[in-house]
Amino acid sequence: MTAVRRTLASAGFTLGLPLLLLLGWAVATRSTTTIYFPTPARVGEAFVATWLDPEILGRDVLPSLGRFAIGVALSIVIGIAAGTVIGSTPWLRALLEPMLEFFRAIPPVVLVPVLMLVLGLGDTMRLAVIVSGSVWPVLLNTVEGVRARDPVLVDTSRSYRVRGALALRYFVLPAASPQIMAGIRLCLSIGLILMVISEMFAASSGLGYQIVFFQRQYMIAEMWSGIVLLGLVGVVVAAVFHVVERRVLHWYHGSREVSRG
């Protein structure tokens, strides 16, 4: 009985505010005449007609999501690999840190024309745009996580001669994993933004392209439905991340609960 009530309560908390917002939207647009703010029903129709159309799904949505996935995966791999090397080499860190801060501060959007020149107009350029922005939180967090290892655990690993690949797998990376995961969380949201941006320049397909296209064609309901789709992608990505993070960091959350409790 209480389990059912708890499930209902949790569903209520998850869906309550979105439903309320939807209701507010419906009420506000009930008697509107402006074409810029269509009713939710109109946007819902456009959503089904546009994004569930197999042609658009195959030509725009899936390739976009594919580029997002590959771009984010590249950022994570590059960020962790480079971050581990930099974080465990003090002189390299001292050498690179100011430069890393410099490059990180550059908004990736301003690099798009440059990347277009160098890498052309294809997928490589779009991946480069995603990586150029989303690699930084992973990289810098990995550097910090690897650097700030517990000195007692460093001594333990040294005195028991846990070195090389074994130390990397069982000491260095797990020790840095709370910070790495925080970096990945940022990487995902930046990656999604840059996926859209990379498709707003010199593109003929993709989610970002379609949204801009609808906007220019005054297909306002379709445009809004694209924005809704982006939001939904964000929610799904966050949910997947949450599950993965709980698994990877179960020891971290567990030990923190114990020390608090």
């Binding site: 517990d150 007692v152 655990l153 001594d155 333990t156 040294r158 005195s159 028991y160 001669r161 846990v162 070195r163 074994l166 069982y170 000491f171 797990p174 994993s177 020891w251 971290y252 567990g254 030990s255 114990v258 020390s259």
Partner: protein, 267 residues
């Protein structure tokens, strides 16, 4: 004792740290020998550089001058035949590994095959009375149990020398008594040489076959004292012996003199 060759020799070891405010002399000159199969306690006033000494002995910190030799070879990095139990049990266990994996990791690093590893780990955990928590994470255990895991890890490593740095400083008195008896038992069962650092005078006399008393910083050896208590020790009987009281009073006096900066040493 003099006719045997020492297993571990510390010779005129000194350590000076370079800090922002100038050099800090932590250890002036320490020399002592540990013979195979001995259990030697090092005791000294707080802040006398005990941890510095142990870091030099275990090859984690290079001394400013002097040498540490183990088995005739100079220690310049952590030796393969030495295991260390640190004071901070909470930080010296890998929190992302289970108890079993914590004990097994050094064996993996040494290349012990999987099947043998499992058997050694199980035996070590049995030795410390923890065979029921193989799959538990260290942070789910009490402080005393965590330190048992650290001891099991050292035991599984099958070292010639077991070095312990104030391992029981942070556990409650009852747990501490149990762990002291555990150290005596492990020492006897395995025939391992133990170097045990503590700030607790009673603990040093109760545990040790010999007690090396350090002076206050800058540190030298104040006294090297043989403990002539019976080999079988127990918390009630041994601590009630008149000889135990004499020894602890003697060491206590030495520490007090050390704190005041008097050098009694050879006298």
């Amino acid at each position: 004792m003099a006719d045997r060759t020492p297993l571990l020799s510390v010779t005129e070891l000194s350590k000076t740290y370079l800090s922002a405010t100038g050099p800090v002399e932590a250890i002036r000159s320490i020399s002592f020998d540990v013979y195979p199969g001995e259990l030697v306690c090092i005791v000294g006033p707080s802040g006398c550089g005990k941890t510095t000494l142990l870091k030099c002995v275990s090859g984690l910190l290079p001394p400013t001058s002097g040498t540490v030799t183990l088995d005739g070879a100079e220690v310049t990095r952590p030796p393969a035949t030495m295991a260390v139990v640190f004071q901070e049990y909470g930080q010296s266990l890998y929190p992302w590994l289970t108890v079993r994996d914590n004990v097994a990791l050094p064996l993996r690093a040494r290349g012990v095959p999987r099947a043998e590893r499992a058997a050694v780990v199980e035996r070590a955990l049995e030795e410390v009375g923890l065979s029921h928590v193989l799959r538990t994470y260290p942070w789910q255990l009490s402080g005393g149990m965590q330190q048992r895991v650290a001891i099991a890890r050292a035991v599984a490593y099958q070292p010639e020398v077991l070095v312990m740095d104030e391992p029981f400083a942070a556990v409650d008195a009852q747990t501490r008594a149990d762990l002291e008896d555990l150290v005596r038992r492990v020492w006897k069962d395995l025939g391992v040489t133990v170097l045990f650092v503590t700030h607790d005078i009673d603990e040093s006399v109760y545990l040790g076959e010999r007690v090396v008393v350090l002076s206050a910083s800058p540190t030298v050896v104040q006294e090297d004292l043989a403990v002539d208590l019976p080999a079988e020790r127990d918390q009630l009987g041994t601590r009630a012996l008149p000889r135990f009281t004499e020894l602890r009073t003697h060491v206590y006096g030495q520490i007090q003199r050390a704190k005041r900066g008097e050098q009694v040493g050879a006298a």
